[in-house]
């Protein structure tokens, strides 16, 4: 049997990457399935013990994402003291934050949204946010939390966001790309209103459970189709946000597209604009072309980085998106981690590198050095 094991030697705590970076997608994990219990009211602990947490996904008997590698994580990221990848702050510091010179790390806790019981969802969101502060951002000032919300309950989500407004532990509001409805629809507007009021960007991370197939064409056979399907989901979410008029209603709202690629952004914008020219009367609430809303309101986290054979093709896409719009991310400790020293081709100017690795994130999150 093949198991990961450690050769007993890790990168030292000395930074091996000179460039200070922001990592806009780090995944902290509970030490065990009951890791949130200290932060949950007894009523909900008892509920979970008796009934579990139902999500919008049928026929699930195991973890939804053990894929590609164990726990969908790097095999070398298992903490030496035990536990799953991403569950030890100390090992995260030693293996990632210190050697990769992470000056700002944005945490995106997964598998904590999309519950069918909305009251349970609100309780779990609150517990998740308390846990992030108590065990992570409160322990290491480089780390910032995401306001996790009970996404299918707009009003409860807005209450949670308002409860965290002004708390410097929190850098953004976190949503997943897969929800029961496209993300621009009005049931989600209270989330955007509260986020705008709090001055928090909305991070939309790939994944989540929606009850719908991941592709518009039905349930696929292979994991790779699911991986690629995340880009399609994200395109649907962004199109919905633009076309429903979310950015007209909430003009100061910032959206960060996380872990869904960015090479498709120009194509989506061109297609939206082309059809908008012909179908404008259907959407009188839009005052600008769809591409303009995308350019003004959307930022892109980079992992998993596009890796075309011709590096110039990558640079061409970035030229359309803008070097001021990309935010580096590693996805640590997940298996499709991007290594900061290898992610950009040679020849990128210092100004653009600085923006890509740190400056854009500092600006979007409003977190100075």
């Amino acid at each position: 049997m093949n198991m990961q094991f450690r050769p007993g030697e890790q990168k030292g705590t000395e930074a091996v990457v000179k460039q200070a970076i922001a990592d806009c997608d780090i995944h902290p994990t509970r030490k065990d399935p009951k890791g949130l219990y200290p932060y949950l009211e007894k009523r909900w602990r008892d509920h979970l013990d008796a009934y579990g947490a139902l999500v919008y996904q049928g026929m699930v008997v195991g973890p939804l994402y053990p894929k590609g590698q164990p726990n969908a994580s790097r095999r070398d990221a298992v903490p030496p003291e035990g536990g799953v990848q991403g569950s030890s702050l100390k090992f995260m510091q030693q293996q990632h934050l210190d050697p990769n010179n992470v000056a700002l790390g944005i945490m995106c806790p997964l598998s904590l949204q999309g519950f069918r019981n909305l009251d349970l969802g609100a309780a779990l969101a609150r517990a998740t946010n308390d846990w992030q502060v108590a065990e992570w951002s409160g322990q290491d000032s480089r780390l910032r939390a995401s306001v996790v919300v009970a996404n299918e309950d707009g009003e409860a989500s807005a209450r949670e966001i308002r409860a965290r407004a002004g708390d410097k532990n929190f850098a953004q509001v976190l949503l997943m790309s897969r929800n029961t409805e496209p993300l621009g629809q009005r049931r989600y507007w209270p989330i955007y209103q509260a986020a705008e009021e709090a001055g928090l960007p909305i991070g939309i991370h790939a994944f989540g459970n929606s009850g719908h197939p991941i592709t518009p064409g039905g349930w696929p056979s292979y994991y790779i189709e699911e991986m690629v399907g995340h880009s399609q989901c994200q395109q649907s979410a962004l199109a919905s946000l633009v076309l429903e008029g979310v950015f007209e209603r909430f003009p100061r709202l910032k959206v960060i597209s996380i872990e869904a690629g960015f090479g498709w952004a120009p194509s989506l914008a061109w297609r939206l604009d082309k059809h908008f020219d012909r179908l404008r009367s259907e959407l009188p609430h839009l005052k600008k072309k769809p591409s303009e809303y995308i350019r003004e309101h959307v930022w892109w986290s980079t992992q998993p980085m596009e890796e075309p054979d011709e590096r110039q093709h990558l640079l061409d896409v970035i030229e359309w998106i803008g070097w001021d719009r990309l935010m580096f991310a590693t996805d640590y400790p997940h298996w499709d981690f991007d290594e900061p020293s290898r992610v950009l081709p040679a020849g990128v100017s210092k100004e653009n590198r600085d923006a890509f690795f740190l400056g854009n994130a500092r600006q979007v999150f409003g977190i100075a050095a």
């Binding site: 093949n2 198991m3 990961q4 094991f5 450690r6 050769p7 007993g8 030697e9 590609g68 590698q69 790097r74 095999r75 070398d76 298996w335 499709d336 981690f337 991007d338 290594e339 020293s341 290898r342 992610v343």
Partner: protein
Amino acid sequence: MTRHVVAPVDELPPGSRKFLTIDERPIAIFNIKGEFFGLLNRCPHQGASLCEGPLIGLAEAETPGDIRYTRRGEILRCPWHGWEFDIRTGQSYCDPKKFRVRAYDVNVEPGARVVKGPYVAETLAVSVEDDYVVVDL
């Protein structure tokens, strides 16, 4: 090329791996069913410690549904992105033209010959009675 003595054969039983650094190069030595292999422990893709990955087989299919799974335990799969490499040659299976991980010759030599040299074995006490795993690099 220098021949380095890595370990007495008994220390590397079948199924085991040994990680070491030689001339500042991270190396891993594998014993797979009694055969020894050596690879640079750095993935040419993004630099992960490649040799911490699992050893899998080679899945191939001439047509959809016609799957052959051969060469069990001879394909090294990177612990990060899952790129596959041939343990015998270091050849990449996802981009054979552009990527190859450096493979080194590993042999078993009797202690009598190792004692005579020329071998580098600073950290090992070599005795003539035993056999040793030796890597060329």
